[in-house]
Symmetry: C2
Subunit: 445 residues, 2 copies
Amino acid sequence: MAESKKLHLTAFMRPVSLHTGAWRYPGAYADANFNLGHLKSFIQKLEAAKFDAFFMADHLAVLNMPVEALKRSHTVTSFEPFTLLSALSVVTERIGLAATASTTYDEPYHVARRFASLDHLSSGRAGWNIVTTGNPESSKNFGRDEHLEHSERYKRAREFYDVVTGLWDSFADDAFVRDPASGVYFDPDKLHVLNHKGDDLAVRGPLNMARPVQGWPVIIQAGQSDPGRQLAAETAEAVFCSPRDLASAKALYADIKGRAAAAGRSREHLKILPAAFIVVGDSAEDARAKRLKLDSLVHYDSAIASLSVALGSDATGFDPDAPLPVDQIPDTNASKTSLASVLKLAADEQLTVRQLAGRYGGYSGLAFVGTPQTIADEMAVWLAEEAADGFTVVFPFLPQGLDDVTLKLVPELQRRGLFREDYEGTTLREHLGLPRPENRFFPKS
Amino acid sequence: MAESKKLHLTAFMRPVSLHTGAWRYPGAYADANFNLGHLKSFIQKLEAAKFDAFFMADHLAVLNMPVEALKRSHTVTSFEPFTLLSALSVVTERIGLAATASTTYDEPYHVARRFASLDHLSSGRAGWNIVTTGNPESSKNFGRDEHLEHSERYKRAREFYDVVTGLWDSFADDAFVRDPASGVYFDPDKLHVLNHKGDDLAVRGPLNMARPVQGWPVIIQAGQSDPGRQLAAETAEAVFCSPRDLASAKALYADIKGRAAAAGRSREHLKILPAAFIVVGDSAEDARAKRLKLDSLVHYDSAIASLSVALGSDATGFDPDAPLPVDQIPDTNASKTSLASVLKLAADEQLTVRQLAGRYGGYSGLAFVGTPQTIADEMAVWLAEEAADGFTVVFPFLPQGLDDVTLKLVPELQRRGLFREDYEGTTLREHLGLPRPENRFFPKS
Ligand SMILES: Cc1cc2nc3c(=O)[nH]c(=O)nc-3n(C[C@H](O)[C@H](O)[C@H](O)COP(=O)(O)O)c2cc1C
Ligand SMILES: Cc1cc2nc3c(=O)[nH]c(=O)nc-3n(C[C@H](O)[C@H](O)[C@H](O)COP(=O)(O)O)c2cc1C
């Protein structure tokens, strides 16, 4: 019998959590943004649970919300990903280390170099989450008044990828002969000068790095627009996406894998890992209560502003502790999908305005909230029905919410044969079941 | 009695050494460029010897010499400084961690962020070696055909420094109140928006980092031209320079400290640390023999090319094993200072053409070659005569040349009271005797 398909799990990390109320949750490490000790303990727990990777998100600006909301959020400052992951590489041995790097506000030579260096430092555990940077405020920190236009961003991203991967291939894997007798350190026939001149980038090369241990660090992509999916299909080996439910996840899965196949790539070599907010409880009610408690920690001022955005109209006049007054909500010109999903959620979960606001101010994406058994059931369905190859796990609060996953959910998944009992390889590529790319300038034969 | 003045010592690191023949020296770790284990052992030895800092040089291009010389050199590829130093921060506790970062080919927002992150990770041990990038080949890796012109580079560097230090001051030291009760994570009155718009740079800010532990990481500068010295005088807290002898070092020392005083700064808060190549032997003869052996490991093809450059005329026709044929050497239009110093060296040390070539192909800057006693004597003179506040130590070969310094020279300096027996503080600023800068936007009052 063929071995059954298994899930991949990566941890989507903001040091205090992505949820803006999390720093106020009982037991939270509110100072984790600049506390290496806490981050060490998180990654070591994730490694003990055999996670594929620790993934560090990244943002290039502070001012992405009104100051009244901003001052209540722990999400805007934290360690920079490369420095943090390099430090964490030393206190771990197997878990993958994925950093986010922007193709819009960085240089391919720097990006190629830093990932190659992280891959060497970690003996082959680096991954690059390619983002084009969504926050338009970022442009102002890099000398531009306006954010680069969406299609321009993706066009540059595609070229940026070609340049970075080309730079990683500057030296053949066996270029460094280091023969003391002849005095030859490397074979110049195994050095390739890229000489890239494209629409957006001009980079001569070669990169001043030996080829990465993995050949190329694993390529990850998180965009969801049409050009985002196309970029993923052409380049990514893992996709962090955020479908809202099983049906839309299946459609997204089929779409991206279909595009990859159309681009001549193997469907197996592109893993779809939806972001999932996971709240584990001893009972369904316990899990739900934890989540409501967490959402209640988002200050009402920020929460109601987020709900207004989701509704497309002002919600500040509503009674916080009554149900959503559906008949007072106008139709919207903003996002009708968003409005519809607020209405559905309010009805499904019978939430008050305050609770709904906390949800939108906290985290409103795909969530699995339940016992280890019910969550494992759901994950098994997603895997079997080709909605996901695994998940990008978003922890509701830390450390407790992480411990709940590693100590309760993961053992349940392992019992069912849905998740590895131990690492089988040493590199991130091996964890994800991805081949090592050939050097495009120095093919093996 | 006032405590006597002490030396500061920083280690100038290329993983295999700066000397191009070092990878062939007996016992050398030829693969150290990408071997974290070796670098861990080096930095831990330097910390045990109480060095002020481990300093990682940086270069942004490979093609800076003809391929026939390039293929014999280990110096063009190695770990990138930020990733490496972040990893090393975890295996050390006290030693400073100085990274080189270019103001010509990077963005101030990125540079400010990475240093702030390294400073937080290391609890206040980061230092920034500001360089404008000397190697003109670098431009081609960053979309420019031509290297930015020298004075333009320094003009941009000065503005870059203002922006980076301004970004470090984005948050007051006590901005992060993290009060769960009121739900306020930081006080918005303690957040400053830089809004910099200058000749070369436009950066809004704020930086998405808490203020560094040291306020600002220590500012280091290594340029020697007139604008280089001026930049150092206005901004640097440590200067890595490369005078050739005691007299020129004294002149340089007086010049830079004088410029600093003229700019309204304290002479005490700018440490002059000349680069010194140190070869320790059991006897003067032993040290000299080690150096000759090392120089002989530079392949003659590269060595003679370097000698030709130093002479300003072709030396390839000379008998390698005879003395320099002084009467066959034409005057030069290149550097007359350089030609004169070759002639002086050939006479002083009575070197053959091959030996001279090895010197120029290997390392021809300031060197202390002798026993621990004679080297300590020399260093004491440099310190007493105000030629140096300490040294940027260049190891001839590793690990042996490093062990010779940490296990033989350092104890001799300690015995004489010329070097610390233990660290007195925990930050790089404290090791160097530098004050913590006030936040320019949030003065203490
Ligand atoms: C799981 C996940 C993680 C993401 N992480 C980041 C990030 O760290 N930095 C960032 O700028 N954008 C991040 N994004 C946003 C995407 O990169 C992208 O900008 C966004 O989905 C909009 O892209 P689109 O216009 O192609 O839909 C993330 C998205 C998802 C789903
Ligand atoms: C000890 C020392 C270390 C240096 N390290 C670097 C370095 O890591 N990267 C670099 O590009 N230049 C480095 N330089 C070169 C200087 O930054 C500078 O480019 C060079 O001295 C020429 O500058 P100038 O034109 O002002 O004289 C170093 C110089 C010295 C003396």
